[in-house]
């Protein structure tokens, strides 16, 4: 009886603590997002000397300028403008794109799946190659294999991605003809193929259209491999340092003393413990690829968010640029915070505090 009372008391204390953690997390999310909106507001409304001029150009007649100023709410005090701006952004209203004449949100909704598909495949490639490479480098520390993994990582950190993309196009498309030309899908299929989710690989598979799947794969494999290389550089380096850390621990000695096979020790014991911080690393590299796809998409004419932003930039279409920035920023922030939360729930040591 007393036991159960004590138990429930402890449980209540723990749930109160969990509640506090969740509350803190929500505060962090809210302030970070507010910060993002404040920065984009600053970029769009405060830096330009006259936002109306930025929208209309300098040839507009005076009465149009006045009307637009009123319509944009620029005669209100700045804090009210910011309030309105936040309300619109939260409801997904980023204004109209000058370039495409669509609402920015419509354009983004169309472009977003392309970027997600590319970044996801890139991260998968990076994780499935990078983790084993990092483990190999840690286990055979100081060997030739370790040096090679290190060089692969170093070059990945140092090479300009758009340049590597151009060279890859030159070699694999123009010379070897292994992959398809820039773009997402062959023009032949553009009219016969009707995507559902916008992730073409998944859609083609779902509808059982193998020829489409092959074509989409030939388009996506090169940009995805390039992005994969970049996340591989980061993931393999982090895996190596986590694994080195684990392999020094006493439980490894104990496992050896017990007579477990080396493979079992490395993959079953050490990597399992290194996996907790690795999840965070992979999540962060996914967020990094969403951003890093801006330059890659430009080279590969990949119709995703990155290309949308750079196209809009070149045409001074600020609504589209800022809308795209907010969306990428939100996803980026979301993944950042989620990986933090994931780390806390996966690692019992940080949970029990």
């Amino acid at each position: 009886m007393i036991d159960t009372v004590r138990m429930s008391g402890r449980r209540r204390a723990r749930s109160r603590k969990a509640f506090a953690t969740v509350l803190q997390f929500l505060v962090v999310v809210a302030t970070t997002y507010l910060g993002l909106l404040a920065v984009t507001f600053f970029i769009g409304r405060v830096i330009p000397i006259d936002p109306v001029l930025a929208v209309l150009g300098d040839r507009a007649p005076q009465h149009v300028v006045e009307r637009t100023r009123e319509a944009m709410g620029l005669n209100l005090p700045l804090y009210q403008q910011f309030f309105i701006y936040c309300r619109q952004a939260l409801s997904g209203d980023f204004g109209t794109s000058v370039l495409t004449t669509n609402p920015v949100m419509t354009d983004i909704r169309r472009a977003f799946p392309a970027t997600v598909e590319l970044a996801t495949l890139g991260t998968l490639i990076g994780a499935f190659i990078g983790v084993p490479l990092g483990v190999l480098a840690a286990v055979k520390r100081g060997s030739i294999a370790d040096q090679i993994v290190r060089v692969i990582g170093l070059v990945g950190y140092s090479v300009p991605i758009f340049w590597l993309a151009l060279l890859a196009l030159l070699v694999f498309y123009a010379r070897l003809q292994w992959v398809a030309y820039p773009g997402r899908i062959d023009i032949v299929y553009e009219y016969t193929f009707s995507p559902i989710t916008g992730l073409y690989l998944v859609d083609a598979l779902w509808q059982g259209q193998w020829d489409v799947f092959r074509d989409v794969f030939r388009h996506i494999i090169l940009p995805a491999s390039l992005l994969g290389y970049f996340s591989l550089a980061y993931i393999s380096r982090m895996t190596r340092s986590f694994m080195l850390n684990e392999l020094q621990q006493e439980y490894i000695v104990a496992a050896r003393a017990k007579g477990l096979s080396e493979a079992r020790i490395i993959w079953g014991h050490a990597l399992r413990n290194a996996a907790v911080p690795l999840v965070t690393v992979i999540a962060l590299s996914y967020a990094g690829l969403l951003e890093g796809s801006v330059l890659t998409e430009t080279v590969f004419a990949w119709p995703g968010l990155g290309l949308y932003i750079t196209n809009s930039l070149q045409n001074a279409d600020m609504n589209a640029v800022l809308g795209g920035t907010i969306i990428i920023g939100s996803v980026f922030i979301g993944i950042n915070l989620l990986s933090d939360l994931l780390y806390r729930t996966l690692d019992p040591r940080t949970r029990a505090r």
Binding site: G35, S158, P160, W163, L169, V294, T310, G329, F332, N336
Partner: protein, 310 residues
Amino acid sequence: MSLASETRPMTRREWLLSDRPQSRLQARLGRAYMTWRRFSANRLAVLGLLILLALILVAAFADLLAPHSPFVGNLAGARLLPPGSEGYLLGTDDQGRDILSRLIHGSRLTLVVVVLVAIIAAPVGLIVGAVAGYAGGWIDAVLMRLTDIFLAFPKLVLALAFVAALGPGIENAVIAIAITSWPPYARIARAETLTVRNSDYIAAVRLMGASPARIVFRHVMPMCMSSLIVRVTLDMAGIILTAAGLGFLGLGAQPPLPEWGAMIASGRRFILDQWWVATMPGIAILIVSLGFNLLGDGLRDALDPRESGQ
């Protein structure tokens, strides 16, 4: 006999490694010597240092080194010559300009961007971090929340948006990159500050009546420097890549400036037939950012043995 060996003049090495330095200068030189010993044992790090020195020398003597003008080309007789052509070691671009000369002059732009970003972003991060760490309380909470907010932003996309609003150009690219790169420095400076703020020497300085500002500037910030220098060096490669990316998108340095990223962009049209126009500037970027990465790794191992994971 023994007296003679006692008074034997010390070798320079012994003087540097002395346990009991006679002056502040000797102690400092001795520490610098130890750091250099650790650093130079790492061959790759020395390679990185050499690359950086070469970059500085090339930038300084660009006018002497460049065989041709970086801006005026030979439109009539030397358009799109392949590498190894007579007088044009790395070939020429579509306007008949020598690519090697443009790369040599472009090293100045690269160096300017890196140095400017470092001297804008590093002090900002240092001040924010040191003040937050030393002051504590709500000042710390507010400053660090602000830092975390900026840290959670996508850097390249934000830099793009900033340049879009400010207008393209190398100055604006520098500002945009600096705005997005100070938060990690603030984090590091704060962490270092927290480790020293309760130490005896700070208490002693405080007892002597030093103002908080004096303590932060004269006694806390110097302690943050080595970690900060390592981090800034490691970031240089990223800064170079971001600047080149902005140049590639046409938002950084404007033509006819020989910025390496912009050169890749202009060579993009000829990539299928005249591959060298876009390839050469990319190799230059790769070498320089590799140099910074190697140097940064080496500095981290030499200055901060705890962090190196040895």
